[in-house]
Symmetry: D2
Subunit: 145 residues, 4 copies
DNA sequence: TTTT
DNA sequence: TTTT
C-alpha cells in the first residue's frame, strides 16, 4: 500500500514532455494548504506544502490540455522516492507523487480523469521533447526531471 | 486534503529525540514495496520506495518503545515538504510523512496507535536529546533532522 | 485502518439534531459520481453512489451552518456498519461514513473543517431535537436515525 | 473520488461465483477493529465493523485461491451503494466495497494483488455458479448478491 | 427520496 | 520559483 490523496491548486501551468519512445509525461506542482495554518501573520512559517506531481500517458495529455495555474484538482497516486548522485558526489533524493487519477474541481460537473493501462496510447508527438535525452538505459518510469 | 497511507517495514530501528521543550519526536524510514516490482533480476531498478516517517508526542513514544527494524506497520499521515538552504547556497527540499496513526501489523492482535492532541503529554525526558540544538527560532514541527 | 475518502455533492440540506446530553449530530447524503458512468443514456444504471454521512460535535455545527444541497465537499472518515433488529424480526444493516474532516470545495479559498476531540464543545441548543428520544441506553455514537 | 482503505481479517472463507459469461466474483466480509474499542467489557458495544467486500475477475480468483477465514489483508476500493426492492415492497440498500487491490499481510513477503483491466481474463469455469441466475439484463458490476 |  |  502506497497511496497519496491530495487536494490543491497548480502553482503554475503544467509542462508536458515526451520520452524518446513518444510517451507523454506531465509535471506540475500542487499547493496543498496546511490545516490550521492561518494565512495572515504566520511567523513566516509555510501555510502550504508544494508537492511535485507526475502524470504519464493519457493522463499526462489530459492534464496538459486542461489544467492551468491556479486550478483546483484532486490527485490520487503513489509516493515515489528517487535517488541520484549529485555533482559533488553526494546522494540526493527527489520525492514525487505519481498520479493515477486526477479530478478537476473547479468545473461545474467534474469527471475523474483516470490514467492507467487500459487507455489508448496517445498519438506520437511531432517533435519529441528532451525528456528522452536521458537516454534509453533509463526506464521511462524513472526518468529524472 | 493531504493524506498518505502506507504499508511497509522499518529499514532500521526508530530514533527518538526530544525538543528543548521536551516534546518527543520519532523518526524512521519505511520500505514500501512497489507493485509489480520483482525482487530477483530487476535490472538494478528499485523494488521499493524508502520513505521517511516522523511521529510526534505520544505516538513518538509508542513507536520508539515498540518498533524495531524489520517490523511491518501501516502509517496514515500527511506529506510535508520542507525547504532549507544548503551550505553551497542552493535550496534543498526534504519530504517526510508526518504520521497521525500507526498500526502494528506483525502482532497477532493489533490496535492502531493514534497520535493527536488529546493524548496526555509524555513525561519530560531526563536529558534532552540534541534535537533542540537547532535552536529556539525553529518551531518544533519544523526541526530539520 | 478504516478510512473513507469521498468527493461529492449534498443531495439535500443537512439535518442537525442533538442528543439528550446536547451533542450535535449532522447527517446528510453525498452523491459521489461513478467513474466511467455517462450521464445520458446509461441504461437506467446508477451514475452515482448515494452515501450517508454523519458528523458529530463541532464538525456537525460547522456543516449544519455552512452546507446546503448541491454543494461540493470532500469527506474523510471511517466506514461504520450498524445492525439493528427490524420489526419483522430480521436483522438489518446500516452503513454510514462517520466524518472526521470535511473540506468545502466550492468556495474560492477553502479550509478543512476538522472534527475531533480537542475542539470546544458546542453550546447546548435551546431545544433538543428528537435524536435523544431513542433513549439513554443507546450510546450517542450509535443512535439509529 | 470514492476511496475506501481497510485493514482487517476475513470473518469466513471467501466465496467465488461466476457470472453467466464466466466472470469471477469473490465475496467475503472483513472484520475491521474499531479504534479505542476494548475487547473485554465493552458494554455490548461492537468492537469491529463487519464490511462486505466484492472482488471481480483476476483479483477474485487470486483471493478465492489464497484467502481463508482469519487472514489479515488490506483492501483498497470504492464504496458502492445498491438499492433493491424487498418482497414487502420497501426499498433496501446494500453497501459493499468493490476492491481494486488486496494485499496479504500475514505472509512474510507480501505483494499487492492488483485487479483491473490489464490483467488476463480468467479461464471460464467448468460449471457456472448461480451468480448468473440474476439474468442477462443486469450488468455484471451490479449483480445483487 | 437523491447532487451537478 | 510557488496556488487561492
Amino acid at each position: 500500500m502506497n497511496k497519496a490523496i491530495l487536494i490543491g491548486r497548480l502553482t503554475r501551468d503544467p509542462e508536458v514532455r515526451y520520452t524518446q519512445s513518444g510517451v507523454a509525461v506531465c509535471t506540475f506542482t500542487l499547493a496543498v494548504d496546511r490545516r490550521f495554518a492561518r494565512k495572515e501573520e504566520n511567523n513566516g512559517q509555510p501555510t502550504a506544502d508544494f508537492i511535485p506531481i507526475v502524470c504519464w500517458r493519457k493522463l499526462a495529455e489530459v492534464c496538459g490540455n486542461n489544467l492551468v495555474k491556479g486550478r483546483r484538482i484532486s490527485v490520487e497516486g503513489r509516493i515515489q522516492v528517487r535517488s541520484y548522485d549529485a555533482q559533488d558526489g553526494s546522494k540526493r533524493y527527489v520525492t514525487e507523487i505519481i498520479a493515477d487519477e486526477v479530478e478537476f474541481l473547479d468545473s461545474r460537473s467534474s469527471a475523474p480523469q483516470a490514467g492507467g493501462f487500459g487507455a489508448p496510447a496517445p498519438a506520437a508527438p511531432q517533435q519529441s521533447a528532451d525528456a528522452g535525452s536521458f537516454g534509453p538505459s533509463i526506464p521511462e518510469e524513472e526518468i529524472p526531471f
